[in-house]
Symmetry: C2
Subunit: 409 residues, 2 copies
């Protein structure tokens, strides 16, 4: 039986409840990986729990209350008591970050906050660790899922801002009071944190210039389409003239830009630096389960020694024959009935045709190209062998896999 | 004067030399961040240096020799001597990973290998840390820059495989002997490492089924365009029927797939899991400076305590007025000369028009929409104020930023 690692949980709302559930679902696997079983040792809300009792009974504190006070006080007290802290509180970090980070350094504890910025997109870890000594020139980010969802709706459906916002609220992508998101303030707090980490210079929320999306009209979208542009709420942190600029505003992007194709409630961040050119990270933005997953990643990191590759926990069989969709190209006689025979041979092996193109080529032949729905590769190659032996098939049929359609947007 | 952290460097080829240079360039900044100054304490090649002397004189060993022996022997001896090791050797890890990882656990040292898989794309760190306890369902990756460059050339230019390969060699994206890359073996080694980490089950290179791109023809590309597909060399590691499948082969992707737009020598990896849906990481693939940057990130991580946010090292001014390109929409009188006057007013503020669309709307008016080349925002808004006061301008002009064209592909 593994030892227990006690996690004190402050806040039990959207993220807190999702975190508690995810922790219990993954406890077994975490015990395998870390050798220690994490367990919620106490929960604090406005109506239950006592902070001092929870603190005394925890190895690590997770803060998911939000706002400045009492979150700030609790986080400081936890670190002063020598406990690691994981928080998803962007407002707190963007306003009082220096105080918190210096307290962490002083008391030699970890303060992790991946969940505060871009949901499951691991931009904090990458900035703080992979790029710890890189000279970052610029960060661009879509760091608010609500506004990206609204803008995507407007672009897709030609919908008005109001209608798109209503739809976002209906689907749970926007809160009843969406002001913090649509005004750009939420994104501004996140960009303040990213700028601080990238440039090693103090940046607080009140230094970030921001503009929201409330004034964007369907007409702006329509005219932008004429120019082939995509409209996003973009956060920028960059070096300019020996200083830095940190800002959030709607911006049109050319189609080649890595953020132009980030749609719906997804978040994405690009980091530019000489040595690395540019890396892009993207994934689902905020939301209870996503943020909880980022918080859990932080908790586990605090539990395990760095850069350890745990023992394998299982020995899964390696399967050789899997299902794939295929592209199949053949040179055949250009005669009636050939396509029907090809379809019949494919059908015998369970292969069905999704789409087909036939084109005449010289010497009474035709090039037949088709996409085949997913099936076991062994059966598909069986059909190809049969086809290769047919008198109306010339040269070896050519087969290339097609990644399954389930990924299409 | 900061204390010294001694880095023993094994191998001084493409990556080794780039690493030594990057380390000396970034030493100052690293000393700021970690409190300790890294320094190459010795270099081993076939013609210089002595391994035992370098080992005795180092806090950490960087292995950039490649191949199995003597790299394996050196890495094992370094860890047994209690030294952390950073390696970019995919072949070694894909063949002898379990032996190396268990030695690291046994001797309580770090073995880091970000540079082995996808250049600067931090997929190892994300899998091992952010997603340490996630239940990963599938990984798709473009993990070989050479083949992605060749396929991109073929798709763009309608070039043959041979011509695209020659071009890749000319530009340094492919080696004189490209067999390891174009056969899919390099990608297979990387997928073996990713599968091992994602599924906690032993996977070695010889268990990976791979197929290369040597047989892809320009005709395949042309017909694929008819179906709207992109062709990539895709590595897959996924759970199937209680086992796993790990394979590499060319595959067509639908345009909505996050890997479909990864072009040139870039690498990208998507990780799918219930809790996170899907995250995508992309950036420049292998290459001397890129791999060196990943190796340096690993070295720094071994030097600093986890999750520490170092003190700010500077206090950069926050600049408010920056240059932006703009979209500008106005309702104007539909009369001759209006566009000329608008252009003149913009020109007075240094704003020049990149493109413009004018459309008649009811009541003798026109909608004038343009994109303005980058200029200081203060000057642009100055022009907008002037325009707003003109008798031929009706309603407030609407301005939205456009992200600079320098990002277009
Ligand atoms: N929701 C998201 O998608 C998301 C995404 C990223 C980051 N975050 C961040 O995660 C944090 C939590 O967000 P959330 O959406 O989970 O908030 P929430 O649903 O409003 O939950 C807040 C929780 O904190 C408790 N709480 C509030 N004030 C308290 C106090 N004075 N003392 C003790 N407990 C108190 C509440 O208790 P009661 O139950 O008694 O009211 C509730 O359980 C915030 O910092 C937020 O910015 C959220
Ligand atoms: N090149 C890339 O873009 C790239 C990208 C990702 C990962 N990697 C990995 O990085 C590693 C190094 O690659 P590379 O391209 O830098 O290789 P490289 O240019 O061939 O350099 C290899 C270096 O190792 C030295 N070496 C070889 N055998 C040795 C031995 N028996 N004893 C001592 N030194 C020996 C060589 O010494 P001499 O100078 O005396 O020949 C040379 O300095 C490989 O594992 C490779 O897979 C490379």
């Amino acid at each position: 039986m593994a030892e227990t690692y006690r996690v004190g949980l402050l806040g039990h709302g959207t993220v807190g409840a999702a975190f508690e559930q995810l922790l219990s679902e993954r406890a077994e696997q975490i015990a395998h990986v870390t050798g220690v079983r994490p367990e919620v040792s106490g929960v604090l809300t406005r109506s239950r729990g006592d902070f001092d009792a929870i603190l005394a009974d925890s190895d690590l504190i997770v803060e998911l209350i939000g706002g400045i006070e009492p979150a700030r006080d609790y986080v400081l007290r936890a670190m002063r008591a020598g406990k690691h802290v994981v928080s998803a509180n962007k407002l707190l970090l963007a306003s009082h970050g220096e105080e918190l980070w210096s307290t962490a350094r002083e008391h030699n504890v970890q303060l992790r906050f991946e969940g505060a910025v871009a949901g499951v997109v691991p931009v904090i870890r990458v900035l703080q660790e992979s790029l710890a000594a890189a000279h970052v020139d610029r960060i661009h980010g879509i760091v608010n899922g609500t506004t990206n969802f609204i803008l995507t709706e407007m672009a897709r459906g030609g919908t008005s801002y109001e209608a798109a916002l209503a739809r976002a609220q209906e689907l749970g992508y926007a809160e009843a009071d969406p002001a913090g998101d649509v005004s750009g303030e939420d994104a501004a707090a996140k960009m303040a944190i990213l700028a601080r980490l990238a440039f090693s210079t103090p940046v607080t929320l009140d230094q970030v210039i921001y503009e929201g999306i409330e004034h964007i009209t369907g007409e702006d979208m329509a005219y932008a389409r004429d120019f082939g542009l995509a409209l996003k709420l973009i956060g920028t942190a960059e070096r300019v003239n020996g200083g830095i600029s940190v800002r959030v505003h709607p911006a049109f992007l050319y189609p080649g830009h890595p953020l132009a194709s980030v749609n719906g409630s997804f978040n994405a961040v690009t980091v530019e630096s000489d040595a690395i050119t540019e890396i892009t990270l993207s994934g689902p933005g905020a939301g209870g389960p996503q943020t909880a997953s980022a918080v859990l990643g932080d908790v586990i990191s605090a539990m395990i020694p760095p850069a350890s590759t745990p023992e394998t926990t299982q020995s899964l069989p390696v399967v050789a024959d899997v299902k794939s969709a295929f592209y199949l190209a053949m040179e055949v006689d250009d005669e009636p009935g050939v396509l029907a025979q090809v379809a019949e041979i494919l059908g015998m092996q369970g292969a069905s045709i999704k789409s087909v193109v036939q084109r005449g080529i010289p010497a009474g032949r035709a090039r037949l190209v088709m996409v085949i729905h997913p099936l076991l590769e062994s059966r598909f190659y069986g059909a190809v062998q049969l086809l290769a032996r047919m008198p109306f098939v010339h040269a070896e049929p050519r087969a290339i896999r097609v990644l399954d359609e389930e990924f299409t947007d």
